[in-house]
Symmetry: C2
Subunit: 337 residues, 2 copies
């Protein structure tokens, strides 16, 4: 290593989501600085890779300004990472079904780079500087537009034989099969943020009184999970009934993770759990009747502490812990143009 | 090590089940010999530990007769093994809820000893000399009187934070909660061998014609899973309908394992899968509509190849791979009495 004495070391973390890309610098002890966030270019494909490269070049400049250097990069993506090839499968970004992200980024930045799925990054982040600090058996359950889980087992990330472990949105939780399960899986269909909105719209058709109608100006198709949560906070009965069904499925899915993997902690994150005030206690009460009793007794169910930064922390930790080796020592300089 | 040149090395494997104890010698390459089987003493407690000690002493004698020595022991039990303390929790054996099995056996045999839960031993056995030979991501689903799973993830056994991972009998698969789920879990209540018999008895009350009545001499309470399977083989409609429900739940449980852990193979074993001719193909067809499609595409679903010997193979492999170190080199001699 051509590391200069006293030169500060940074790593860069990039969290590519379905709608935004975040970037930040991290020191080895987990101090984040200079966070930036840009909306994902809807054209997808090369454009999004280009956005990531610009954010990285900006991190390189900034680490240089701070008298240091960027020694590694961690990037997480909303989907599957095939670790051997560096190909990603992220269907929410146009053109990113089997996209060679690693080679695209390395071509432009010449930096050692580690790719990870967002859900694995979340659990790594929470273990590093979040609510699960220092634990070894942790599951991060992300419930937003979709549902996925990051699995840490005995301190190691579990990716499965094809890098697609954690697809818990496909948990089968209801023997009474519905056609929509075919598209996204039973658990996701019954308990994701989108499903909360869909279920509320269906319940509003009954004509029962509800605050929600006024909240969306009478246009039921504008109901979102946020509408339902807000109405439930205001004690709207229809909203509460909607959420009860969601809670039942969340409790079942969480119980299955506990009975199978006997984790120390389940960390709840993703958009839906921004309504932690409404969801956390009922979920904590609800999973017990389903889960293996000894495992249920010891597990802790907690909200994410890092929130939307969990992916950045996880990507940074990966970059620090597993610095991938490039063929020659390369150093990315700030752009001169 | 005081190993003599040319002296044959053996390890001993003991599989303690709910109804029988098996024992056998193994060479390092996985050749089994001298298998013995005795019924478990119903008094439980010390008596069962005494049975195990006798079988071990017999293995010591036999390895000596074959000009070798017994260098380690692997023992699997039907329940939970607390690896730090050597305590086991095996509720099917009287007096074995928190029983100090390791110290009891070591006191009498002075042999290095490795304890494991039966379900973990099964998956290790199948990976060593069974259907899953050489794979690294494998789940053994054991369906008999109960339901449990052994989990191998990236070549390592997953035991969970409290050594109770794999309690899949508690999988929540039906939101319509029934009181019996509280005792044994939803999946076990809906799909174990016992549940097949219970469901058949309930269906026979309808008065519908069925071969099963004649098979049990008109005494419905004598119906077992075996009765139902045999009647289904003879195309009895009520028996087939009984099994269809079981298959639906098995398919859902298997799908959940696949979506979450993305294994290369699920190995099906335990008493119920002795009816593999009736169950395997419907289960293979059934899980696909529930599981994450990419994971479902690559996974193989196979019947156990080692059958009732899976636990012995697994216990032997553990003894070879992880020889626990005793404080001094001890050698157990054949009994002189």
């Amino acid at each position: 290593m051509s590391k200069q004495r006293g030169e500060k070391q940074f790593c860069g973390a990039i969290d590519i989501g379905g709608t935004k890309i975040s970037a930040a610098l991290f020191t080895p002890d987990g101090t984040m600085s200079g966070k930036r966030k840009v909306p994902v270019d809807k054209e997808g494909g090369e454009k999004v890779a280009g956005q990531a490269v610009e954010l990285i070049q900006d991190l390189v400049s900034r680490s240089s300004e701070e008298g240091g250097r960027l020694s590694a990069l961690g990037i997480c993506v909303p989907g599957v990472v095939y670790h051997d090839s560096g190909v990603v499968w992220a269907p929410n970004i146009a053109g990113w079904r089997h996209y060679h992200l690693r080679s695209k980024i390395q071509e432009k930045t010449k930096l050692p780079l580690l790719l990870e799925s967002d859900r694995s990054a979340y659990v790594i982040g929470e273990q590093w500087r979040g609510i699960a600090e220092g634990l070894k058996n942790i599951i991060f359950l992300a419930v937003g537009t979709g549902i996925g889980a990051g699995l840490m087992i005995d301190g190691r990330i579990c990716r499965g034989s094809e890098d697609i472990a954690g697809a818990v949105g496909w948990f089968a939780l209801n023997p009474d099969y519905k056609p929509e399960y075919a598209e996204m899986g039973c658990f996701e269909s019954e308990a994701s943020g989108n499903s909360v909105a869909r279920r509320a719209m269906a319940m509003l058709k009954s004509g029962e009184p509800s605050l929600m109608r006024r909240m969306v100006g009478g246009k039921n198709s504008n109901v979102t999970a946020q509408t339902v949560i807000e109405a439930a906070r205001r004690k709207d009965l229809l909203a509460r009934r909607t959420i009860e069904v969601t809670i039942q499925y969340l409790a079942m899915g969480i119980a299955n993770l506990i009975s199978l993997l006997n984790p120390e902690m389940i960390v709840l994150g993703g958009g839906l759990f921004q309504a932690g005030d409404i969801l956390l206690e009922p979920v904590r009460a609800g999973f017990r009747k389903w889960a293996q009793p000894l495992a249920a007794e010891t597990v802790r169910i907690e909200l994410s502490r890092l929130g939307e930064d969990a992916g950045l922390y996880g990507a940074a930790k990966l970059a620090w812990e597993h610095p991938p080796v490039l063929k020659e020592e390369m150093r990315c300089r700030p752009r001169n143009t």
